[in-house]
């Protein structure tokens, strides 16, 4: 990390330095020194260690295969200082500086004429291996230890590289084209979303008005129907009695069935317990070392099952309730049907009957006036909460006009709520992070899959990730999309251009998938790199139930060379 960071830094300074440095210095540079460091190696008599210039050594000790400088700068062309690293065992004699042990140089500089100059790590110098990937000119093995000879392959490697680079650039062109399409599509989708918001806002306004209207109608209808209802009188005596009879029979039937179902439930839970015991025993006693896929799958499924929150767990209290419910009704328990079957409705509405009864004694001319006054007085009482409103609840009879008005009001209400939530969704969708240029809008819910041995893996952009077993069994949710982030990666790109490369990459995070036994909920990190087509390159389980998908998509392509991995290419601009 330290080295590669230094490398990066140096390549930047190199760009600056290159322009200023006279080309001529190259020929006089000691072995392994890159042009950007030439200035430190100019004295013909002595050398000052780069990080500690007070430490001077005679020029004869430069590149003499013995490490003198604490920062290794006296051995740019050998491996003598390759132990200088935080990763190496520290011993006081070899690493006198126990803190901050870093090499001053990025590595051994290979000129690679005909290709791109590059650095190889010092531990690769004169070790008997030709590191042509970084040092195509073979200069890393200048000592020819054990008879090693590394031919200069820069011509062919450079040619090959340029050929590949052309292909890569072409592919990048295609990918960029596709990205443009995606961005355009995304813009279009955004536009559509925006107009939908406008649409919904208008719709919302009209829904609000409609609701107001229907509410008014309902109110009026109710008022007028309530007064009518008074004259219509209340229901006939004995009708409730018949209903009670029916209800009793129905309840008896339900009670019998409840008892029956409970019996079945108890039998089944007994069987379930037996099965669970069997499966627990299987889990305890199976031999994981045998790696019997069948047994392991069964155990894993059992573990998932055991980990899940159980629905419908019966508690004793609930069962006691059921016991009560299952008892036949009588005076002390449940409903006293006798009361209901024999009685009539006269006990109800006594106060009102007195009121209405009063008017019956008035002369007919007065009666209409009285009735209207009483009705409005009753309405007043109901509205002020003094008198119960029997018109809607207690009576099973409601006038069709009120019902219609209410249902109209209700549907207007629903429509308003729906419109409101549609609008909210549409608005939040507009505010949601769809990445730069809103590009993932174009890929939303697009799904791609990859066949990987035992499973097929599925990625739905901004949706969820899934593992689908080939040998049967349900899909496993590996996480639901939560956010877009980024991560620095350092990995390879294969000949076909598949791979993450080096640099900051867009990451889609999927979380809260299916729960893992003894572990977290499953989650997936989806790392994206440029490719013309949406394609899953690689899936790995970096930790238990934490998946990593490397995915190619044009959505993340950058016009510049955004994914070149090779160290050589980093030096492209040198």
């Amino acid at each position: 990390m330290t080295v590669s960071a230094a490398l990066l830094l140096l390549s930047l300074t190199a760009v600056v330095r290159c322009a200023a440095d006279p080309r001529s210095s190259e020929s006089t540079r000691p072995r392994g020194v890159g042009p950007e460091f030439a200035k430190f190696y100019k004295s013909p008599t002595e050398f000052s260690c780069i990080s500690s210039p007070l430490h001077k050594i005679p020029i004869s000790q430069l590149n003499d295969d013995y490490c003198d400088c604490p920062d290794g700068s006296d051995e740019p062309g050998t491996s003598a200082c390759s132990h200088i690293s935080l990763l190496s065992p520290n011993t006081s004699s070899v690493n006198p500086l126990t803190d901050n042990i870093t090499l001053a140089l990025p590595g051994f500089y290979c000129k690679n004429k005909g290709h791109i100059p590059s650095y190889v790590p010092f531990n690769s110098v004169n070790d008997g291996k030709c590191d042509h990937t970084h040092c195509c000119d073979g200069s890393d093995e200048w000592q020819h230890v054990g008879g090693t000879t590394c031919p200069d392959k820069c011509k062919e490697i450079g040619k090959e590289w340029r050929k590949k680079d052309d292909v890569r650039k072409k592919a990048l062109g295609l990918a960029m084209k596709r990205k443009k399409e995606l961005v355009a599509e995304a813009a279009n989708l955004r536009h559509l979303a925006m107009s939908r918001v406008d649409e919904l806002e208008i719709k919302l306004k009209s829904a609000e008005e409609k609701l107001k209207e229907t509410e008014k109608v309902l109110e009026e209808t109710e008022k007028s129907e309530k007064s009518k209802m008074v004259r219509g009188g209340v229901g006939k005596a004995g009708r409730a009695g018949i209903l009670a009879g029916l209800a009793k029979a129905r309840i008896e039937e339900l009670r019998t069935n409840l008892v029956e179902v409970r019996k079945q439930r108890d039998a089944l839970s007994g069987q379930l317990k037996e099965l669970e015991t069997t499966l627990s025993a299987l889990k305890e006693e199976y031999n994981p070392n045998f790696n019997d896929e069948g047994a392991k799958r069964a155990v894993r499924a059992w573990e998932d099952y055991a980990a899940r929150d159980k629905q419908g767990v019966w508690e004793a209290a609930k069962d006691r309730d059921l016991d009560e419910i299952s008892k036949p009704d009588d005076e002390s328990n449940g409903i006293n049907w006798v009361e209901w079957e024999s009685g009539d409705d006269s006990t109800t509405g006594e106060a009102e009957s007195i009121l209405y009864g009063l008017s019956a004694y008035a002369p007919p001319s007065l009666r209409v006036w009285l009735d209207s006054k009483i009705t409005s007085f009753r309405t007043l009482l109901i509205e002020s909460g003094i008198l119960a409103d029997n018109s809607g609840s207690s009576s099973s009879v409601e006038s069709p006009a009120v019902t219609t008005a209410r249902s109209k009001r209700d549907s207007a209400k629903t429509s308003l709520t729906n419109t409101q939530s549609d609008l909210n969704n549409a608005k939040s969708d507009l505010e949601r992070d769809y990445g730069a240029d809103d590009v993932f809008r174009a890929l939303k819910d697009k799904c791609i899959t990859k066949d990987s041995g035992e499973y097929i893996y599925e990625l739905c952009f901004l949706g969820s990730t899934k593992q689908k077993p080939k040998k049967g069994g349900g899909d496993t949710n590996m996480g639901n999309f939560v956010s877009i982030a980024s991560e620095y990666v350092d990995s390879d790109v294969d000949a076909e251009g598949k791979g993450l490369g080096v640099g900051e990459r867009v990451v889609l995070k999927y979380e809260n998938g299916q729960h893992c036994w003894n572990g977290p909920t499953r989650s997936t990190v989806v790392l994206l790199a440029c490719s013309a087509q949406e394609e899953i390159w690689r899936i790995s389980e970096s930790e238990k139930c934490v998946y990593r998908m490397e995915v190619g998509t044009a959505a993340v392509c950058e016009p510049d060379d955004g994914k070149e991995t090779k160290r050589t290419a980093e030096k492209d601009e040198l």
Binding site: V3, D64, D65, Y66, S79, A80, S82, H83, S85, L86, L87, S88, P89, N90, T91, S92, S93, V94, P121, N123, S124, N126, D127, G128, K129, V145, G146, S280, K283, E284, E285, N287, P288, N289, F290, N291, K296, G453, D490, D492, S540, E541, S542, E543, K544
Partner: protein, 975 residues
């Protein structure tokens, strides 16, 4: 699971713990005890323990029914022959030919056979076609044939009282007193009583007898009670365990004997057990086991710790050590063997030369069948014993140098691309490694020799990528062969009649990875020849010269078989029953693979690398072993150290445990500490179960990855010292990592120390941190008068027979250098050991109290057998205050390839010499004089810089680039 390992304090928590355990804790992380026999479930173990109990109860060992008929005594050419007669309670007599061989080396070998069986005068039950003799083939596998020359100059005197005395060994300083009635032998060296055979009268040779069917008395179900003269036949015949019945066609055939080791409180050896180095008592007494140490090679995954339970391999060799002398017992038997260990304290008034009280160790060895064949070795110190044992069974293989680098394994790297990726990542993260491993998933449906074409379409390109960095691939291949028509390997095995047979003589069919399987009978020469024919590169496609082998499951492991292995009445080559040679099977398969790898390509002879899980005495000649399927728990990290040390004591030192733990996921701290410990296992391999998450060292991140990388690089830095230690093991049998008692044989306080150890003869003393959260360790320093110096900063610790505490934060490995040693290193960390071949050396000269130091270095090409023809460098470095530092040639004889090798190595030099505890008189001195053999210019100067140390640290000096060749004589003069 972690829960059953925790140790809550207090009764309440114990009760809670137990109830929690019963409720929730599925013992997925513990051994399946019911799969493996206890002594009580083993007929012959029960019989012999019962006999021991009854003899002890009678209180008179002289009732032992075995005696020598003096008329049969015969001495010829260093061997004493006689007939031992057993008289039963019913006055029947049985005869057992006795042969005692007195070897030139001072080792005595006592062999007892059974007359009737030897002559084949017995009847087998169930129509068995098995051999009738007691198995006599163990020696052919375990012994090399060396060291067996008998001493013709022995002096034998038989007296009237019925004793024969034999003086033997070098200078006749060894003495065996053979008592005729009852039979017993006492061994002395230099007049001191050390060992007695049949001391307690437990000798038991179960003679052959026919089974007499008892008439069933009608209406009477129960058998009549035994009369006093009858024996309990209950366990003599067919024996059933876990639903498998052993037909035992030869009936009871066990043999057992007690061996007392006088004055020895500590005994070691009997690999392989997860138990302390100093063996515990197995009967009676608080803190002792209730089972004997069992040796019956078994696939015991997730094994128990601190247990005498059997494991994957068996070496029936025991070392007993006391101040001033060491004694070894080698019980050469391939059948199931149990050993009871008890210790008895003698009081001061005993007759032992008026000394105070001392402890004797009493052992009781019980084997199911075969000859009684026991070697008694008396030596002065452990190193002598290692040499004697190695002389008989062979020394440790000198492996290729890559084999002692770091091995990266897991079950499984899933594809050739995966392997290439891991390979690149190691380089990317600047972590060296030498070998990457493929567990069984490389195969096409568990068919050996066939790659999974889907996941490994191009193994050669994978091998080539590895080879570019001189790295190797190791693939797993087991002795079970998938039983399947059309699978050429199985077809050949069957058609050429090379498989292990069942008791009826048909190919034995059992269950293992591939399902129904057959087992190669590697006892058969024809089978071994056939096995060889499968490995040539043109036959075994996808392999090349950097591909090596791993033999797993060779106990042999049979899923669902009795004791997880094959039935004891199975038949092998020459009609021997499996019971007779069970413990040797693993060695024969390992041996077959070793020899097959020698003949893969004409003209290419590289030292084979084969890892084995199962082993027997002699397996050390063939490769490395590891301690099997451990757990990712701190306790297993702890246990790995005594286990590895015990492998050294048992003569098979190329050993290590799975770094990180096989089952389960280690915490990052545990994994890091395990790498620091593993860097000091002779065999340094990280491995993990298929259900664990990935844990390659580069995945852990800060601060763990750099710390693990440092540990691995420390291993690579010290490879020259390690290789030298391996070489020592290969020529004198000494352990590669050595226990405290081994290095300081006269310091009694260190005899039971088994959590710290030395690397070879380098004086490097390491004490791995094996406890969670520890930031310091107590390290025991022997009272040797030397100072011990911290490896990293030269802090001084004095050796005074006490423990000293040293800091060990996570990034630090507690590692000390004992004064008086010279340690060779290579300080340039490369990507693999192969790429360090031409690097210069650094010598660390750690001056002792007397101002002197000594050390050695062995170097060869690390690949071929050319060293056998002199292609090696063997140097001794000696520092003396007057003479300075000298490099002296230790190669006694030049071979035909010596000169060429020295020429190849002529540019490899010493680049740096560091002197720790450097004399203050060097302060201000600017240079030293360097004199090299054959140098034209006489002498040259090299710069010297002296540093004061201080603050508890030793002064040190560095000599800059003396430019002396590693293969040449030279001298550095300091004054």
């Amino acid at each position: 699971m972690a829960c059953f390992r925790t140790r809550p304090a207090g009764w309440f928590s114990i009760i809670l713990f137990i109830s929690l355990f019963t409720l929730f804790c599925h013992p997925a992380g513990s051994v399946k005890h019911k799969d493996f026999k206890t002594c009580e479930q083993s007929g012959f173990c029960t019989r012999n323990r019962r006999l021991a109990d009854s003899v002890t109860a009678q209180g008179d060992p002289y009732l032992s029914p075995y005696h020598i008929d003096p008329r049969t005594l015969k001495v010829t050419n260093g061997q004493l022959e006689a007939i031992v007669t057993k008289t039963t309670l019913t006055k029947e007599t049985f005869t057992f030919p006795l042969l005692i061989s007195f070897l030139d080396s001072g080792v005595a070998r006592v062999t007892l056979n059974e007359d009737k069986r030897q002559r084949g005068q017995i009847d087998l039950r169930h129509g068995s076609t098995a051999r009738k003799e007691r198995y006599n083939g163990a020696a052919a596998w375990a012994l090399t044939g060396d060291g067996l020359k008998t001493n013709a100059n022995i002096k034998v005197a038989t007296d009237e009282q019925g004793f024969s005395k034999v003086a033997y060994g070098p200078d006749n300083r060894y003495e065996a007193t053979i008592r005729h009635n009852p039979f017993g032998i006492e061994f002395r060296k230099d007049g001191q009583k050390r060992v007695k055979l049949n001391d307690r009268g437990f000798l038991n040779m179960e003679h052959w007898r026919p089974k007499i069917e008892k008439p069933q008395v009608e209406g009477q179900d129960a058998q009549a009670p035994l009369t006093s003269l009858e024996e309990d036949e209950g366990t003599w015949w067919d024996e059933t365990f876990n639903g498998n019945t052993d037909s035992k066609p030869r009936g009871p055939e066990s043999m057992a004997m007690d061996i007392t080791l006088f004055g020895y409180e500590h005994v070691y050896g009997l690999a392989e057990h997860a138990s302390p180095l100093s063996l515990k008592q197995t009967r009676g007494g608080e803190g002792s086991y209730d089972q004997p140490y069992r040796m019956f090679n078994s696939d015991v995954f997730e094994y128990d710790l601190d247990s005498p339970m059997t494991l994957y391999g068996s070496i029936p060799f025991m070392q007993a050590h006391q101040k001033g002398c060491t004694t070894g017992i080698f019980w050469l038997n391939g059948a199931e063997t149990w050993v009871d260990v008890t210790k008895s304290k003698s009081t001061a008034n005993s007759l032992t030369m008026g000394l105070g009280g001392h402890v004797d160790t009493q052992t009781h060895w019980m084997s199911e069948s075969g000859l009684l064949d026991v070697f008694v070795m008396m030596a002065s110190e452990p190193a002598d014993l290692s040499r004697l044992y190695g002389e008989l069974t062979g020394y440790s293989q000198l492996p290729q140098s890559f084999a002692i680098g770091y091995h990266q394994s897991r079950w499984n790297y899933v594809s050739d691309e995966d392997v290439k990726d891991v390979d690149r990542k190691f380089d990317k993260h600047d972590i060296p490694y030498d070998v990457i491993w493929l567990d069984l998933e490389w195969t096409n449906g568990k068919r050996w020799f066939q790659w999974d074409e889907h996941s490994f379409p191009d193994p050669i390109s994978m091998n080539k990528q590895l080879d570019e960095s001189h790295r190797k691939l190791v693939i797993l291949t087991d002795p079970h062969i998938k039983s399947e028509g059309g699978y050429n390997i199985d077809d050949e095995l069957k058609s050429q009649n090379l498989a292990v047979k069942n008791k009826n003589g048909n190919d034995y069919d059992g269950w293992c990875w591939p399902g129904s399987s057959h087992w190669i009978d590697s006892f058969s020469p024809a089978a071994r020849t056939w096995w060889k024919s499968l490995f040539p590169y043109d036959k075994f496609k996808g392999t090349m010269s950097n591909v090596w082998l791993w033999n797993d499951m060779n106990e042999p492991s049979v899923f669902g078989g009795p004791d997880m292995t094959m039935p004891r009445d199975n038949l092998h080559h020459d009609k021997w029953e499996h019971r007779d040679l069970h413990n040797i099977y693993g060695l024969t398969f390992h041996n077959a693979t070793y020899h097959a790898l020698l003949e893969r390509k004409k003209g290419e002879i590289l030292r084979p690398f084969v890892l084995t899980r199962s082993f027997y005495a002699g397996s050390q000649r063939l490769g490395a072993m590891w301690t099997g399927d451990n757990l990712a728990e701190w306790s297993h990290l702890q246990a790995s150290i005594p286990m590895t040390l015990n492998q050294g004591v048992s003569g098979f030192p190329f050993a290590g445990a799975d770094v990180g733990g096989f089952f389960g996921n280690p915490s990052k701290e545990l994994q890091t500490r395990w790498y620091q410990a593993g860097a000091f296992y002779p065999f340094f391999r990280a491995h993990a179960h298929i259900d664990t998450r990935r844990r390659e060292p580069y995945l852990l991140g800060e601060p763990y990855t750099p710390i693990m990388a440092q540990a691995i690089k420390l291993r690579y830095q010290l490879l020259p010292a390690w290789y030298t230690a391996f070489h020592e093991a290969s020529v004198d049998g000494s352990p590669i990592v050595r226990a405290q008692y081994y290095v300081h044989p006269s310091d009694e306080k260190g005899f039971a120390v088994d959590d710290q150890f030395y690397v070879g003869s380098t004086g490097l003393l390491v004490k791995p941190v094996t406890a969670e959260g520890s930031t310091n360790v107590d390290i025991y320093l022997a009272p040797d008068g030397e100072n011990y110096y911290d490896y990293f900063d030269y802090t001084i610790h004095a050796g005074v027979g006490k423990t000293v505490q040293i800091d060990a934060p996570l990034e630090k490995i507690p590692l000390l250098m004992q004064g008086g040693h010279i340690i060779p290193r290579k300080d340039r960390p490369r990507r693999s050991s192969g790429l360090m071949k031409w690097d210069p050396y650094t010598l660390i000269v750690v001056l002792g109290k007397d101002g002197k130091a000594k050390g050695s270095l062995y170097v060869d090409d690390g690949e071929t057998f050319d060293f056998q023809q002199g292609a090696f460098i063997h140097r001794q470095f000696v520092f003396e205050p007057e003479d300075g530092l000298r490099s002296v040639d230790l190669a006694a004889r030049k071979g035909p390839k010596t000169a060429d090798y020295l020429k190849v190595m002529k540019d490899v030099r010493v680049e740096r010499i560091i002197v720790v505890n450097a004399p203050g008189s060097w302060e201000g001195q600017q240079s030293v004089r360097v004199v090299e053999e054959g140098a034209k210019s006489g002498s040259t100067n090299a710069p010297l810089s002296w540093h004061a140390g201080g603050d508890g640290k030793a002064a040190w000096a560095v000599i800059r680039d003396p430019r002396v060749g590693i293969g040449r004589d030279w001298r550095i003069v300091f004054s």
